[in-house]
Symmetry: D2
Subunit: 346 residues, 4 copies
């Protein structure tokens, strides 16, 4: 399959280049970066000198359509929606790594306080959480690649929500991320001295991933009731990794062991999701630079709550790796093709 | 006042030496470290060469009693209780930084699965959270210095619990700490390579600070009902700092502004607790190397929950600084004496 | 003594506020920051809420002259020289933390490739390395506070150069600094993700501190010959600290022990410089957040070279602490006044 | 080719598992770890759960000989030499990642102050710096895999030394490494709190890599004169990466451009060594998790010295990657087989 990457100099773009370099079945035919067009990749990204002789090109829909079957959009929100519409018109399938296509129009308007761009386009998008929506992904023309926090959160909660084992209205989700999630822009908030030896919460009560999570939880809630969550994001002084700790009241009496069995069943055919044995919890380095999502859980009989902990690499399973996983499905390949590598533990 | 420090080579001990070096009214007359007895402080701790000419001495109750009015115990749990008993017998007041004296015997037995040592002694201890129990502290002979997590947690929740503004049974407390909290022992878990670029939860559902927090929350709960909490601790790849994010259902309708006013009132005469203005949240570096506890909060009308965030320096307000604060009260001084310095922002 | 700080929101400015807060003899009467004028210090720097109630003011020469005896300029190079000239005219003494007044005009022109601003002013400045030029500092009206790298380098090499114990033309100086030395501006080079888990050299062969070091080494070279050095700076993924490793051929046969005695003699009356015993070398944390400079050395008989290692905190002894040390001398105080605190080891 | 790994739970062992997992032509048939024998790999190393179903086995020469053509020894120095001798006797080729086989007996005795074990064995070993000794490596039975510091140092200096472009007696080599080079043992020196926010030199004048570097430089010195170097190692607060800054007097007049051409020529057929363009210097992240060695240099006409900077990943090109590169040569494969992947930039 011939693949174009748009926005190749951001962190998710760089990661797409790395993952496609490993991939045996994908041909990277177009690397777009308007700001660096004309330069060799190795001039802009010295770690790639000698690895590739390709050059960055201006984004050009006609030329992309001539040489690529699928375009991976690693562009900022707001920009993606425009490129997606044009590429789709020219017959190029699109996997959008931005947030532009993840929400239904009504939710988009409620949270972003503006009219959703290209509402029709948005409704055509398939939500690319392929462990749950893989069949739709394989048939899609436009895939909304899930956000990093929603990926870890949904993989760790959907097995409970789908079976009404927890009361979703009691969900408290406490999420922590490394700094690469904030992107490459140099701001006061990403200055080394401000981040190093510091820990903080941000966007308390207002993170844009809240509606994305609530939308999917509601869709999978057997009662149909709209799910509302408490969700707080924190910044960890490290480059990569997300850990999400979720708490909810159990609706009945279930042991840790019982729930772990249920998770193992749910993900039996999904090798990127790994369930920890009882008494053990995942850490972010267990999945570093890989497409795995590791999950552990603990039932506390004192509080009748379950605590679920999930980790992913925000740039891989939370972005570029999941995009390749969706790309594999689009190509009719096994989802693990070119992607099932050992994490880089240290 | 003449002060002895026992266990002076651990992290809280080193911090006591630093803080007492700043203090205008305390005379450090005895520095005990059995493992380093006979060596000059500067030989063992090169950063103190030239700063002090003192030497480490063997712990010796009679000699301590001869030269000190108060002993600060920066010893491991299990050891503190024995030293405390002997020192008290000799008329030396004790501030114990370990966990030995923080729980009533029944709770101690329930959580540690062993008979509490010196149960009688324990019941004599005053819990040294001086913003709430300062009057008792001033009269005490034995002070149980609060744990690091309980300090941040209780300062951020007691204003709500005391007034029944939240349902304490809905409390979810998600806590994060730097590595110095794990102490100076070299273990697989404190190896640089294992901690760096990693984030993990630990002791999920079983942290020994849970009964300490629940005990005080229950004591201050106007209904008298025993409080049971969900409490998870996480390790942040940084040296110092604790941030605690707490979530609870409000019992009535209250705005962020209203609750912030309440907090400002509660801590009006307690300058070490600083309340953030609406829309702003504290980060750990705001209090680094200082005795401050900074608190922010947010009411989410969607979920009817309040999110409270508190930060402290685990080695200062969470240990050695709070011990000095209690020492000041014992000495009849203003609690801020020698302790009210600017945080070290970077 | 009444003190004004100009440029109070940069890293050296913040550090001046912290150190003056500790100081028993200095009154901070004016805090200038054009960009934040009118705001309370605690609004801009949350770690100082409650510590100070002062506000930032616009820089205003007349008003500064009315309330301050000395002005500490923590301003960018190029700006300092203008403020210094005006303040001196109004009778305010100046300690300039920038590089504007450290070089004689000819060297300035050679390295900066432009006409030196206010050459006359520059020639009036005393170089504020007070361990060597303290007598001049005490009488000065304008003090050029040394650069961070030159401070560590000169303190570690002058004892050898002054006695012609090394051939200064063989000097190789390999310097490493934490990121705070790059200042508070958010750039690609200071982005957390670019710095973290990375080590690099920068400005190889062209660092602006080369002429400053060579100028003083030449001045103190008994032969009068102009000294030319190899000097390379590297960026360490940490916030604070400088370590300088210097190598030179010995002119005669000297043991490590002999040279250590010489250093101890040289700095006998200078308590901020601490000499390590044989076989031991300093590390940056030994001096963290303090005004100490720790030095160790090793003579290698195989190569007939001496290796000297010096560490400082770049923001304290390398900038703001050294400025306070000079301020003390200006005020006729002991140089250690308000400045001789324990390093913050962890 | 069938490969055994001995010492698979240390950092270089873990890295061998990762790299062999990527390799298309090598079959990993035996994973030895005496301490973990009988356990599944994924039980000991959670990041490998699901990636491999293999188990650790006891080291057993006969069984290894029955199933492996080559053994990679990731064992401590002192232990390797014993295993190597036995494996060679049984016809198994050996690549030794330890320091046991890198020095001729006389040098071994001089630096380690003890009789070299199995001196005969040592003399059979080929030094596995394959960019220079590839032809010998391909024919070897026992390969001494170079040390991490020597790899970066020699690749960056041999082009100059072989052509007598520098005076090797003026060489000053200032080396910096991340913490993984210290291995997995939990010691005071590897405790997170001791390393984090700290920079230090270690083993000044006495590092065991000095004789290894001097031995090869002497061997390649056209004059035959024994080379003696100043070499200092430093610890960087990061997990991976080595940067070596070398300084030497040029013997004649050469420009930066001229020398860069020479390096490009030297490494034309060695794709793992990449030469930076003039004015640009490599940083450790450019080669992170890859087998590349990036080199930049600068001639300073003021001092007539050249500064050469080289970076490698200490665990890949400095250990396990270089071992695979040598394994490829042993197998008659292109040295890049299974090893020529994009660095992991962030």
């Amino acid at each position: 399959m011939r693949v174009a990457v748009l926005g190749a100099t951001g962190y998710t773009g760089i990661e797409l280049l790395r993952l496609l370099d490993h991939h045996p079945q994908m041909e990277l035919t177009y690397i777009a970066s308007d700001s660096r067009a004309g330069l060799q990749v190795g001039e802009v990204l010295p770690h790639l000198r000698g690895v590739t002789t390709a050059s960055f090109e201006k984004g050009d829909v006609a030329r992309i359509a001539a040489c690529a079957d699928v375009a991976l959009l690693a562009l900022p929100s707001g920009l993606s929606v425009e490129w997606a519409a044009q590429l789709l018109t020219c017959g190029v399938k699109v996997i959008d790594l931005s947030g532009d296509h993840r929400l239904p129009p009504a939710l988009y308007q409620e949270w972003y306080k503006k009219t959703p761009p290209e509402a029709v386009t948005q409704q055509q998008a398939v939500y690319g959480l392929s462990e749950f929506y893989g069949a739709d992904v394989a048939q899609a023309k436009l895939i909304a690649n899930p956000g990093c926090y929603p990926t870890a959160t949904l993989l760790s909660l959907l097995p409970l929500v789908q079976r009404s084992l927890i009361d979703p209205q009691t969900l408290v989700i406490d999420a922590k991320s490394g700094v690469s999630g904030a992107g490459k822009a140099a701001t006061a908030a990403t200055h080394y001295v401000e981040v190093n030896e510091n820990f903080k919460a941000y966007k308390v009560g207002g993170h844009q991933h809240i509606p994305e999570i609530e939308h999917i939880l509601t869709r999978e809630n057997p009662t149909g009731e709209r799910v509302t969550i408490s969700f707080t994001t924190h910044l960890v002084p490290m480059t990569r990794g997300i850990l999400v700790t979720s708490y909810a009241k159990l609706t009945g009496s279930h042991s840790t062991e019982e729930l772990l069995h249920l998770y193992a069943d749910t993900y039996r055919d999904h090798p990127f999701v790994r369930i920890h044995p009882q008494g053990s919890m995942p850490q972010t380095r267990d999945v570093a630079k890989s497409n795995f999502c590791d999950i552990g859980l603990h039932v506390d009989p004192r509080t009748e709550r379950v605590t679920v902990i999930a980790v992913i690499d925000n740039l891989v399973k939370g972005a570029s790796g999941q995009a390749i996983q969706n790309l594999n499905l689009l190509a009719g390949l096994d989802p693990t093709t070119g992607l099932f590598h050992s994490p880089v533990y240290l």
